[in-house]
Amino acid sequence: MNSTSRIWTTTGLISGVSTVLLLCGFLYAVKDIMNPLGAPIFDEQTRQESVLPTPEIESVLDVTAIGDSLAKGTGDDTGNGYARRTVQILKERGDQSKLVNNLGINGLTTAKLIPLLDEKGVQYVLKQSGVILLSIGGNDLFQETEKFQSGGELPTEMELEKSVTEASENFKQIVKKLVDINPDAQLVYVSLYNPFADLEGIKEIGNKAVTHWNSLAMQTMSEYKRTLVVPTYDLFSNNGPLYLSGDHFHPNGEGYQSIAERIVQGLGKSVVE
């Protein structure tokens, strides 16, 4: 057999086999995409069984932040927020700590947080955290005021009061769920401040609503063990220009830093000892 015949036989054979293989793949793909109900592997039973494994807690100071934009760290130019800053402070003082996840979502309200806590991934993350930093409620109270900032109507005292009572009912559910998911974790609620403390017209009713909300939240939290409410109200009362970011609503880096310091103070000296 000379060299050209050899090339012809091998190449022809390989390409023939390849073509048949690819044609099969193509037909299979078309069948599978056009008719996807062909072989559902997950029937209802396996769906029930496929529970995520319970993760190990590495350190009791492993932090997860959950909640609204404050948990996420919106307004902090470094992107750290109080979640990462808390971990940093803990590490600096020599404790073993890491940020498990930051589950903060901009604009989250109490009503939207409840279904989130039923998700398996969220529960998985919470279960491996020693410290859960919760921030929620700000959007329930102040979503209306964003309209006010852009020239809309001011929320009345009545409206704000209504938001507070509604949201605090949701808040009770949230805290209960969080404690159910991970009863061993230290649950820290970062309470609200009034971002409009230096704006005449809304300052008073804002103060009133925030204090009412904070006291309700404190009440809810005190029903459970291993809970902690970190106050931020006083931090921002006179330091608005210093601690608030450009949007006049979220804290800036320094604001988050001082919240993080508060959190660490609240967590106490090394829990490990």
Partner: protein
């Protein structure tokens, strides 16, 4: 007929065009594999072995961008779909980002399907007729006592054989090289497929897991179909245009235009009748949204088939009728 095909095949091999394509793959794949290795080392550093946390963070990050007014609605659709898919993976405790030679091959070919593989196909297709003109050998070919359409058909068959060879060797090379980086396992890892998109909603009623090797087989089949269409178009251009350089430029321009169009054409809906917008057949398998609303696998297959058949028709018509002057 067979001696003609054999003749063409030998010519193709002797011209070393096919080896160039293999060489391109051998040079490029390690680069991508290395980049991918860097990425996975990075996330390994942040999340350790816990892929579930990583997936959950991905979900949260995407949820965050949904609330932003600066993010265009188009992107939000992609992200919503991504979120739903990731939640599905997480609920069923399947790691969607597991690294391994097989997973890398799947990802790489998914991205290569619309531009890279078609470019390689063009490498052999664009000059299959025009090079004979450039060098003048076409006259020798045509003076033989064989009908012209037979000559053209033998070239077409050779081209299609090389299309199969290129697709398969892309897989083999990719797997062999990426295995050095990530290990050779992962054939049986379950991959979810069957996400049906209705607008921005994902219908998960048809979702089912297939072993990764089956997924690869399906993916290869779809890429093969795309490659054949591209090959036939390149074949037509090669018949119509005298110079090899010009025919390569024409095909490249069409392919690149297609890639740009898929990224921005959603407003111009009749663009979906262009072949180059329909090259992303593997998207239907992976469940990523089609570039233009209303496109389905059946639709894309039909469009590609129509383009392929038309270009074949034109090729044979022109080649049998035209005068070969110089």
């Amino acid at each position: 007929m067979i001696p003609l095909v054999k003749n063409e095949m030998i010519k193709m091999i002797k011209k070393k065009r096919f080896y160039v394509i293999l060489l391109v793959l051998v040079v490029l794949v390690p680069m991508f594999a290395y980049a991918q290795l860097k990425v996975s080392m990075n996330s390994q550093e942040k999340y350790g072995d816990d892929w579930r946390r990583q997936v959950q963070q991905g979900i949260t990050d995407n949820q965050n961008s949904l609330g932003s007014d600066r993010v265009p609605e188009e992107w939000k659709k992609y992200r919503k779909i991504y979120i739903q898919q990731m939640k599905y993976y997480l609920e069923h405790d399947i790691n969607p980002q597991q690294t391994g030679g097989v997973s890398f091959t799947r990802e790489f070919l998914n991205n290569a399907a619309t531009l890279f593989i078609p470019l390689l196909i063009m490498g052999v297709g664009s000059d299959i007729v025009s090079s004979e003109r450039t060098t003048g050998t076409v006259k020798m070919l045509l003076t033989r006592p064989i009908r012209r359409w037979k000559i053209l058909l033998s070239k077409l068959i050779t081209l299609l054989m090389f299309v199969s060879l290129i697709v398969v060797s892309a897989y083999v090379i990719c797997y062999l090289i990426s295995g050095l980086f990530f290990g050779y396992g992962g054939f049986n890892m379950p991959v979810l497929t069957g996400f049906v998109l209705n607008g921005a909603e994902v219908d998960i009623s048809g979702v089912h897991a297939v072993p990764q090797w089956e997924y690869l087989l399906m993916q290869a089949g779809l890429i093969w179909f795309v490659s054949i269409t591209v090959a036939m178009l390149a074949f037509m251009v090669s018949v119509l245009v005298r110079s090899t350089a010009a025919s390569i430029v024409i095909m490249m321009a069409a392919l690149i235009a297609g890639n740009i169009l898929t990224n921005m054409a959603s407003a111009w809906t009749s663009a979906k009748y262009l072949f180059m917008v329909n090259l992303g057949l593997t998207n239907y398998l992976a469940g990523s949204p089609a570039p233009i609303e209303g496109m389905t696998l059946g639709f894309s297959l039909m469009i590609l088939a129509i383009w392929a058949v038309c270009s074949l028709f034109v090729s044979f018509l022109v080649f049998t009728k035209q005068d070969i002057l110089n």
